[in-house]
Subunit: 240 residues, 2 copies
DNA sequence: CGTAGTCTTGAACTGCATCAACCAATGTGG
DNA sequence: CCACATTGGTTGATGCAGTTCAAGACTACG
């Protein structure tokens, strides 16, 4: 059987259960696949989209990972999120018909292009798809608010512990080891996300290592005492 | 004609153009009004909803203003936003079927209750309503990312200037004076939103006053040199 | 094998927090 | 109507977490 180049095949996609609602019928998945434009490969360091580009599509990450960032006139950078396989990119573009941030690949990656008008149309017919879209957007709002809490109230150690546990959880959800993983991003980028300078990130990693909480070898991380990390986070974590 | 108590009347609502899409037909507004549950009054200091309450509805503010906040186990508070007439509350509840934050009235207020399942259903029929909902959620995401930038990268003066200009803009959009207004929130709450302590907020207000940027009398604010405030913000504002 | 990017570590600095006193406005009860 | 308490805001003195500046180590890649 000849493979159709760039043809989307959701049923065999490894992150299906992350980016699609449960219980779609075979037919509905078919419809969705017709709506989804194509796959697109992005090399490490390249931009999937740039702030102020005209918005037309959401992107579902099939493979790889990204950061989203805001850049300021005077050259500061705020990383607003790290996205991995199964995550959805571009929801910040819907409101103003332009993307609000840059999306940059942290490694060679591949996304499914989901033209938004077609998604809206299809979600008018398929209720579960509509709900799924709403849930995805709402979760993004909740995540962002969590970051506000982190940036507004936490100290450096609490921020990094929160970050590590959140990564761990996301790897677990994707079937990878939650206790040993490789960071896709630099200290600089972690710092930007957490509102810290890269030196501070490095120092806190060192402190965690000395206390036996983690093994750190460059970007390879092993969580050695997850309970202790969790204790660090507990007091300052949202009650919810 | 006997007024139906708590009956919603969108056509005569002063914030109609903020919370409804343009160009709804009379019929469609009728449908929406039937879907919208009722009005609800919230006294100053009371909670409209609490984090972890079961989610069932969005709330459109008719009158008054609110703050949303996250509370932590050890008693810290992060204000995640201030909402005023025409704004939508509760979108953080969709994803997990529970509200993620508390919504507290800053003054005696009134909201329209919009049961979410009915809104979803109606938005499947009325395309413009569907798009409007998506835009509202997306704008919330963009706003939250802007706050991340503020918390992660800006200094105290830049944060407060950003805050004042944003308030000014929102008052303007509602037909109030953009240069003279009364703050609905305390220094404490402003500080929590901006990631600062109340003393710092107070000090920066004083500095702005000394520099002739604003008049401050308790909660009464008058912007005297908007251009200067804007200059403070420009360098660090998102390029977008 | 050399050069550039990334990471670590140290020393000194600083912006905001903390602690504390005081003031103004508002409310309360006698 | 006035003493008094309460709440919210201002201002000063001091401290410290995280930044800044700087140097060196490690890694990767052409």
């Amino acid at each position: 059987m000849a493979a159709i180049p760039n043809r989307v095949d959701c049923n065999s996609c490894s992150v299906r259960e992350l980016c699609l609602p449960h219980g779609l019928s075979f037919d509905e998945v078919e419809q969705l696949e017709r709506a989804v434009g194509a796959r697109r490969r992005i090399k490490r360091g390249q931009e999937l989209y740039h702030a102020r580009d005209a918005f037309s599509a959401l992107y579902a990450i099939r493979l790889g990972s990204f950061k989203t960032r805001l850049s300021t006139a005077d050259g500061r950078e705020q990383v607003t999120g790290f996205q991995m396989a199964g995550d959805l990119l571009g929801m910040d573009g819907i409101g103003a018909a332009r993307y609000a941030s840059d999306a940059v690949a942290l490694e060679d990656s591949e996304v499914c292009v989901v033209p938004f008008d077609q998604l809206e149309e299809l979600s008018r017919e398929v209720g579960s798809l509509q709900s799924h879209l709403h849930r995805m957007m709402s979760r993004e709002i909740v995540r962002d608010q969590g970051v506000m809490l982190l940036l507004g109230n936490m100290r450096a150690e609490e921020r990094l512990a929160t970050f590590l546990l959140s990564l761990s959880e996301r790897f677990r959800a994707r079937g990878f080891s939650p206790s040993a993983f490789v960071l896709r991003m630099s200290r600089q980028e972690i710092g930007s996300y957490l509102g810290l300078k890269l030196e501070t990130v490095s120092r806190v990693f060192s402190r965690f290592r000395e206390q036996g909480l983690v093994d750190v070898d460059q970007r390879e991380i092993r969580l050695r005492d997850e309970a202790a990390l969790r204790r660090l986070v507990e007091a300052c974590a949202g009650v919810a």
